[in-house]
Amino acid sequence: MKRWRTPATLMLAAAVMLACSGQRPVAAPQAGASGPVQGGRLVYGLSADANGFNPVTDQFAGQSYSMAGTIIETLTAVDANGGWKPNLAESLTPNERHDEWTIKIREGISFSDGIGLTGDVVRANLEAQKASPLNAAVLAPVKAIELVDPMTVKVELKQPWVAFPYYLDAQVGMIVPPASLKDPKAASLKPVGTGPFLFKEYVPDNRMVVTRNPRYWRQGLPYLDEIEFRILPDSQTRAQTLDAGGIDAMGTSRDEDLTKYGAQQDAYTVHRSEGMAVAEYMFMLNTTVAPLDDLRVRKALAHATDRETVISTLRGGLTEPADGPWSKDSKWYAEGGDYPAYDLDKAAALVKEVEAEKGPIRFEMISTPDPNTMQGIELAQDMWRKAGIDVTIKQADQADLINRAVTGNFAATVWTQFSAPDPDGEYIWMHQAYSQPVGKVSLNFTRFKDKQLSDAFDVGRTDPDEAARKKAYATVQQRLRELVPYVFIDHLNTGSIVARTKVHGIGEHRLPDGEKGLPLTGSPIPYHPFAQLWVDAQ
């Protein structure tokens, strides 16, 4: 008996090793001579799970759009030039004042549950979105939604709204079938839509699997048979999983990933956010509490902040300094209004002037406790100390920090925002109508009230002439530079998608009417459509 023990143990160990080794079986794609090939499976790493997949009831972040966007489509889309284009809608036509939009729905589109997409379904979706506490503020200008004919819906607005179609490219424009509206809980777990993929499986905090929709309305799409989204919250092990071949692509915002994978062009492609999709990293100031209610103090902070040093220290020199909410490669960027440049002497002079009147300048800065953010705050703290400003740092988790921003219980905080495809997307965050006193819920977190800036936002919202809108948003940028409610640091264009070279089509999708779509959307980690992604035949 004993002599059999060693061989038996070895055989058992071999069997376990055999079971534990090898690659997960995948469907082999059909070979194509060149260009996209049908078939294949993509495994895609995401940094977080979604709160749910119901666009009416669940708060969507980038990862929600990645996963739900394969199943549920939007009424409009944004093209590579930043303009809106019809998607599920065939057309969107405004009246002359732009306070009424007529949405004509494309014919011949069905949800995967067999229900046809009609004007009535779109009307019901928009009604549900307007009634949803998630989007009430965004859709506040909507007065009424009417069905004109079976395939046409009219949206009446309380005021002209030129950029209204841009909002239909996001959560409020995602269209679900009537069954999902009736049973929101089921829709949160098992999304149904008109999209290129069908829901197959979802395991919270683990994975979501979608399969090809054989009856997708855009002929020849999608190319992939299946996509598995893996939820991998740790950025380092997510990258290691890509190295090990466990995933084919992933979203990241780490500088080291850009550097590492950017240097391996034969094995990986790196797709970086650009234009309006790029968010800004900044220190957000509460302009209604002392000492930051004094413009001289806010200017002193900006003068004392050496953005180049922050970028070289924290971002490996990969980002661009910011002087406003829109990056320089966006068509909405405008110069003017001199943002306070780094000048320690000017900062010190302003501080002395204020101190002579009001005494020492001290305030508290809130930060999330992650090491990279803390490093940035400590760097700024040191820079400001050299100018004579005494800042103490208070750590708060994300939930606390956001709540403080909303209720005004802060002096200054680290903040990342402003990645809407159109400048009107920032209306509710900066317009004086959305500014409330400390203690009340305010969407204008800086509580900054400037008539000139707000009037300019109103022009941008109501004037259909692009030149007039550009001029208005130039005024917005000018006022932000002059009045410094935010100390801007950099445009966070490190948000990227890294993929193995066998994955093609990221950021190259075409919209239904043939235009090239906006490559990447959202921040800090961007997202993109999946219908036109394909993998090499192997």
Binding site: V16, M17, L18, A19, C20, S21, R24, N51, G52, T57, Q59, P133, L134, N135, A136, A137, V138, A140, P184, K185, S188, L189, V203, P204, D205, N206, R207, R230, I231, L232, P233, D234, Q236, T237, R238, Q240, T241, D243, A244, G245, G246, A396, D397, Q398, A399, D400, I402, N403, R404, A405, V406, I428, Q436, K440, V441, L443
Partner: protein
């Protein structure tokens, strides 16, 4: 009788722990409504959701309401996902339990021979080497060890996947591959503790009179060690295993985050960050019950390990 006594103790523990955790969670700054609705919600929408969830009620009223539901087996619904908390926990518990059991098997499977070998050669080169190894494992944070193991076994040798989870019901082989690295990572720290405990107790036992008598009777050192010294030396080890199992049900969050495992620890920590009070409460109940149950089982094991306890 002992079961009734334990049940009463469990109820007291549950009441104290759940009330304290409920109160502490509510003292945390941050608002669950902001987490549910996001930044752009209006004051009116927030007030409505607060009322719908009963968050406008006093703390004690909410706690008693939750407790009343618990008595009928209703853990409540998650504020964020609106799923029943019980089903969310039930979905994740098998992952954490499998991870814990696998980690304990690895830790005990290695700690016993290592502890015995070190005790047998106490003070010699092997003992010193194993002691050094134990301290190295103890002082290596799990996130460092995890990343290192992924680098070696998943990236370089590619024998196991770096991250991810496959349930047993789907594929046993893939399930084993997805649990092996996390279990080793979690087990290594335990291994060092268990080996040190066993070594110390075993050295003491080996100096007992009955061991000297056994040696005098000519029993082989191996037989003395494994048949006569090991069992009475395992009391501390069993205690440590029990304490660890209970505590680790909710304490595996680093491992679960690192390896992308959908376990209970990750659910609880995510729920704390999103102020999802009811999910956290459900997790607290689960951990408390688990802790008491495991330690009850440990008491029974004591008697099996050492007959003197049974007789006492």
């Amino acid at each position: 009788m002992i079961v009734v006594h334990r049940l009463v103790r469990l109820l007291v523990v549950l009441l104290v722990v759940t009330f304290l955790s409920y109160a502490l969670l509510n003292l945390l700054p941050g608002d669950p409504v902001t987490q549910i609705l996001g930044l752009s919600a209006t004051e009116e929408a927030r007030a409505q959701v607060r009322q719908d969830l009963g968050l406008d009620q006093p703390l004690l009223v909410r706690y008693l309401g939750w407790l009343g539901g618990l008595v009928t087996g209703d853990f409540g619904e998650s504020y964020i996902t609106r799923m029943p908390v019980a089903s969310e926990l039930a979905e994740r518990l098998p992952v954490t339990l499998e991870l814990l059991v696998a980690a304990q098997i690895i830790a005990l499977g290695l700690a016993i021979p290592v502890g015995v070998a070190a005790a047998r050669r106490a003070g010699r080169a092997l003992d010193q080497a194993l002691t050094a190894l134990s301290f190295a494992l103890l002082s290596t944070p799990v996130f460092v060890l995890g990343v290192l193991l992924i680098l070696v076994f998943a990236v370089t040798w590619q024998v196991v996947p770096a991250t991810g989870w496959t349930p047993i019901s789907l594929d046993l082989g893939w399930n084993l591959t997805s649990v092996i690295l996390p279990a080793i990572t979690l087990g290594c720290g335990q291994l060092a503790v268990y080996a040190r405990l066993l070594r110390t107790d075993l050295i003491a036992t080996l100096q007992e009179d009955y061991i000297t008598l056994a040696r005098a009777r000519g029993l082989s050192p191996r037989r003395i060690l494994w048949r006569h010294a090991l069992r009475p030396s395992a009391i501390s080890l069993v205690t440590a295993v029990g304490l660890n199992l209970g505590a680790l049900i909710g304490g595996t969050v680093i491992i679960e985050t690192l390896f992308g495992l959908p376990g209970v620890g990750r659910l609880i920590v995510d729920s704390i960050f999103s102020r999802d009070y009811l999910t956290v409460q459900g997790g607290v109940v689960l951990i408390s019950v688990g802790y008491v149950a495991v330690n009850f089982a440990v008491d029974l094991v004591y008697a099996a390990v050492d007959p003197r306890i049974r007789r006492a």
